[in-house]
């Protein structure tokens, strides 16, 4: 975990709703898929957490949606401006090797899965990426790694199959590991598969510190015969699906 100032390399619209922010990688530590950054944004008292979508020695990228005050201000940053960032934060997806892998996600939740699939590619030949989206224009085509089998669905059928990505995923089988990220409804459904195979999900929650200090971001996690509130920022954001107690 470091606190560094990074220069914006680019901050552009990926599509109508989403932006891709690329900034210098001034971190000494490496990032792993699932890790997030906690970004200081002017006029906001609390930082804003974002999953890392792409990472290399030179730069880091996040993909975000403008949903409120903080992301609105972030979207106005331009090349050369500095941002105050804490990272890497949180745990990461365990990287399985030589398995038949399923990645499934929807909407903005795709961000960490992009990084994850880049990584999994190195160790696995069969990677299926189930990608649900509102419509053709909301899909982050330009940042999707190659060498992966994509199965798309859109709400309006404008690309891939029309319908919910989970319904399509259900028709497949034989996966040995499942990774997911996205809307809670989707994750809940995916987690049912954890009886059969390992399922890892990346969760989101409102955060204050982002560093495990305040216990603000907890979720219910099974512990032996009981449950405990665990911190998404420190004990997560990646949890084994069979441990999560959904609301």
């Amino acid at each position: 975990m470091e606190n560094v100032i990074c220069e914006v390399i680019k901050n552009e619209n990926l599509n109508k709703d989403h932006l891709l922010l690329e900034f210098e990688n001034n971190f000494k530590e490496d990032f792993y898929p699932g890790n997030f950054v906690h970004i200081k944004i002017e006029k906001c008292f609390l930082r804003r957490p974002f999953s890392v979508a792409r990472f290399n020695k030179k730069s880091i990228q996040i993909i975000y949606k403008v949903v409120g005050k903080g992301t609105e201000i972030l979207s106005q940053k331009t090349k050369g401006e500095s941002i105050d960032i804490i990272g890497p934060l949180g745990n990461s997806f365990p990287i399985y090797k030589n398995k038949k892998i399923c990645i499934i996600g929807g909407g903005t939740g795709i961000a960490p899965l992009i990084f994850l699939s880049e990584e999994l590619k190195k160790f696995n030949k069969e990677i299926f990426f189930f990608y649900g989206s509102r419509n053709r224009n909301s899909i982050f085509f330009s940042v999707l790694p190659d060498g992966i089998d994509y199965i798309f669905s859109t709400d309006d059928g404008s690309f891939g199959t029309k319908g919910n990505i989970f319904d399509i995923f259900k028709k497949f089988n034989g996966f040995e590991v499942i990774y997911g990220s996205g809307p809670e409804e989707l994750l809940k459904k995916i987690s049912k598969f954890s009886k059969k195979v390992p399922v890892y999900l990346s969760l989101e929650n409102y955060m204050a510190c982002g560093m495990g200090l305040c216990y603000g971001c907890v979720v219910k996690i099974r512990e032996k015969d009981n449950w405990e509130y665990k911190r998404v920022c420190k004990d997560g954001p990646v949890f084994r699906a069979d441990k999560i107690i959904w609301r």
Binding site: M1, E2, N3, K40, C44, F45, L46, R47, G68, D84, I86, N205, Y206, M207, A208, C209, G210, M211, G212, L213, C214, Y215, G216, C217, V218, V219, E228, Y229, K234, R247
Partner: protein, 302 residues
């Protein structure tokens, strides 16, 4: 560095910077970008007798220049703390203050019985927790219960006691005087301010405690008022986010200051406070102890 030395009664602090309760966890998480040498003392997140799960979500929400929290004292209980946490953090901090809370006198005493065997610098009594025997009021919302709980605990241990008070009272001076009379060695001011915010997106209410820069004037006012009526030292807390804020608390009477949610916003806060105070003192050729309460004693009002 020397100029930043301060004292809380018999406790000597290398710097006046204290990490406050609940905003630096149990001290286990290693925050790499912090210079631990610059921390005078660390106060643990409040420990209770039994483990507590704390409140359900939502627990936090951002407000105008601050935040609301309703963590609900999630903690692993005093036994676990003493056995598994304390040993791990001893070497990290020069002074450890253990914050404790009970729902009634009995629980407080039970915790004290365990904690008093440990080598720690002070016990902070979180008196902003509800007293279930008195209409769910906080202990420090009543001068009698404040007096009673502190004097009972004082009887049990020689470890210095810090009384952490809530600003949510009609007259903070009255409460502070009771705390001093009952034997508190130090007063911590302030805990969070009762506040509520609304997440219009999720249509949710977050009813909890307000912290951050927005409450600084409330904290300064409490320290200012209490400094006039007690002789024991005060830890000034509330809304510190940069060096200037720390100086302000010291000028109205705080012998040391607490960094709370400011750390969440300003990751460099410890360096900034440290450097600001050091430069200020050097420029004016003063030691920290020379300026504690300076503006209060002069009563520069007008």
């Amino acid at each position: 560095m020397k100029s930043l030395k301060t004292k809380l009664g018999k406790i000597e602090l290398a710097t006046p910077i204290i990490m406050t309760s609940g905003t630096f966890g149990y001290g286990i998480e290693k925050i790499n970008f912090i210079d631990y040498e610059k921390i005078g003392a660390f106060t643990t997140k409040t420990i209770t007798y039994n483990p507590l799960r704390g409140n359900p979500q939502p627990r936090i929400y951002e407000t105008e220049y601050g935040m609301i929290n309703r963590i609900g004292l999630q903690n692993p209980g005093v036994f676990y703390f003493v056995k598994n946490v304390l040993p791990k953090i001893r070497k990290k901090f020069k002074n450890i203050f253990v914050s404790i809370a009970g729902r009634n006198e009995k629980e407080f005493i039970e915790i004290i019985k365990i904690i008093k065997k440990e080598k720690i610098s002070a016990i902070e009594l979180n008196l902003s927790c509800p007293n279930i025997e008195k209409k769910q009021r906080m202990f420090s919302q009543d001068s009698e219960t404040t007096y009673k709980i502190i004097s009972i605990i004082k009887n049990e241990t020689d470890i210095p006691l810090i009384a952490k008070l809530s600003p949510n009272v009609t007259d903070i001076k009255e409460i502070a005087i009771s705390a001093e009379k009952a034997g508190a060695d130090i007063i911590s001011l302030i805990n969070t301010v009762k506040g509520l915010s609304i997440d219009l997106k999720r249509m949710k209410i977050i009813d909890g405690g307000l912290s951050g820069p927005c409450i600084k004037p409330v904290g300064l006012k409490c320290v200012y008022d209490v400094y006039k009526v007690v002789k024991i030292p005060i830890i000034g807390i509330g809304g510190i986010i940069e060096g200037k804020d720390a100086l302000e608390y010291i000028l109205v009477g705080a012998s040391a200051i607490g960094i709370g949610s400011g750390l969440f916003s300003n990751a460099n806060i410890i360096n900034e406070v440290y450097n600001f105070l050091e430069n200020y003192l050097k420029k004016n050729n003063l030691m920290l102890e020379n300026i504690i309460g300076y503006l209060n004693e002069k009563d520069w009002l007008i």
